[in-house]
């Protein structure tokens, strides 16, 4: 016979873990949050095993005759949303203080999950800020800075578009960097004052795998070797695909005679 309350708690903990995992939390935080939620509902035997691609949870009430329930949840499409991580973290604290019922908890989590990110124009402004600032830092002139504003906006817009089409992150990085390199090279050949190096560097920083690198180290630190290795590999592959995207375009430009096409 299925224990309905236990099942509800299971789904609640799983949902909380899924939101955190999909938005780029570290493994130990996900496991901690899920365990806290279950323990707050008097489930004494809880084991959670989380990896970046899936969560396994199994639990029972701790008695001799209780049924154990186990659930495997596949995680698809990791992005980064620090607001959701922090809100789920707050939620688990609130829930552990036992002021919420399980059904109320589920509605709160749904609210957190449905809350959107900043609107696209604001994010484009952010992208422009990043690319122009990095362009200046890595030795760009005023003209480079102006061009990198446009290349940042276009590159970010293109990556958002490819993400909408559910294309994997390596191909997205490759294509966006190729586009950015093309913009930078054409700008440099059309405008005398512009050089393409700082423009490309500034815009590459938008796609750099900083989150994966940081998280992989923190996973290693807390002893989750599997997740650490997986994220380290993600970091290396993303960096390679970014470099390859820019490199292919630069080489092609050289072979095809560069500014002669324009």
């Amino acid at each position: 016979m299925v224990d309905l309350f236990q099942k509800k708690v299971l789904m609640l903990a799983l949902y909380a873990g899924e939101i955190m995992m999909r938005n780029g939390a570290e493994i130990y935080r996900v496991e901690d949050t899920m365990t806290h939620i279950c323990k707050a509902c008097k489930m004494d035997n809880v084991e959670v095993f989380a990896t970046p691609t899936g969560i396994f949870i199994s639990m029972d009430r701790g008695g001799d005759e209780d049924d154990t329930q186990t659930y495997v949840k596949r995680i698809k499409g990791i992005s980064t949303d620090l607001r959701k991580i922090s809100q789920v973290n707050h939620f688990s604290r609130q829930f552990s203080a036992a002021t919420l019922s399980v059904d109320e908890g589920m509605t709160v989590l749904k609210e957190i999950d449905d809350r959107g990110i900043y609107p696209l124009p604001v994010r484009l402004l952010g992208a422009a800020m990043i690319s122009s600032a990095f362009c200046l830092i890595f030795g760009g002139s005023a003209a480079d800075c102006c061009i990198s504003v446009f290349s940042g906006i276009l590159g970010y817009l293109f990556s958002v578009f490819l993400n909408k089409l559910k294309i994997n992150s390596f191909v997205t990085g490759f294509c966006s960097c190729a586009l950015v390199a093309f913009i930078a090279l054409s700008a440099a050949s059309l405008i005398d004052a512009a050089t393409y190096d700082p423009i490309i560097i500034g815009t590459i920083m938008l796609f750099v795998p900083g989150v994966a690198l940081t998280n992989s180290i923190r996973d290693f630190l807390s002893g989750d070797m599997l997740a650490g290795v997986a994220r380290l590999m993600e970091t290396i592959l993303t960096a390679l695909s970014l470099a390859a995207g820019a490199g292919v375009v630069i080489k092609l430009w050289e072979i095809l005679g560069g500014g002669a096409i324009l």
Partner: protein
Amino acid sequence: MITILLQLLCSLLMTCGFCIIFNVPSRKFPLCCIVGAVSWMSYQAFTFLEMSPVFSTFISSCLVWLFSNIFARVFKETSTMFIIPGIISLVPGAGTYYSMLAMLEYTNKSFGETVKETILTAGAIAAGLLLMGSVTGVIIMITKKINRL
């Protein structure tokens, strides 16, 4: 002096931009900007003192960890929220690009140099976070033991 101000302005701008892209709540922007400015300006300061870029990155990433965890404790937030926007300016994007360029030109010597520096810089970020994480872990453990006595 003007270059220092410009660097500071740039570091604030880019941290702000990353905060928007990673969807940090707007009330936390100033704190993230402080962490970002600390990371980039300390990196600049140490390279100005003629330390190697790798070592400067190492110290900066230690500082980012320290500031993020202090802010996290004080403001009851997750430390991820401050670490990620803070540390991303140290990630060697320029190094990746230059090593790619060196590979295209096929001058073996400079390729080896740039790749080595890029990998070491990424490793320095990792080492900084690892070191500070282990040290704080040990300190917390010891203080707990002492409190129990």
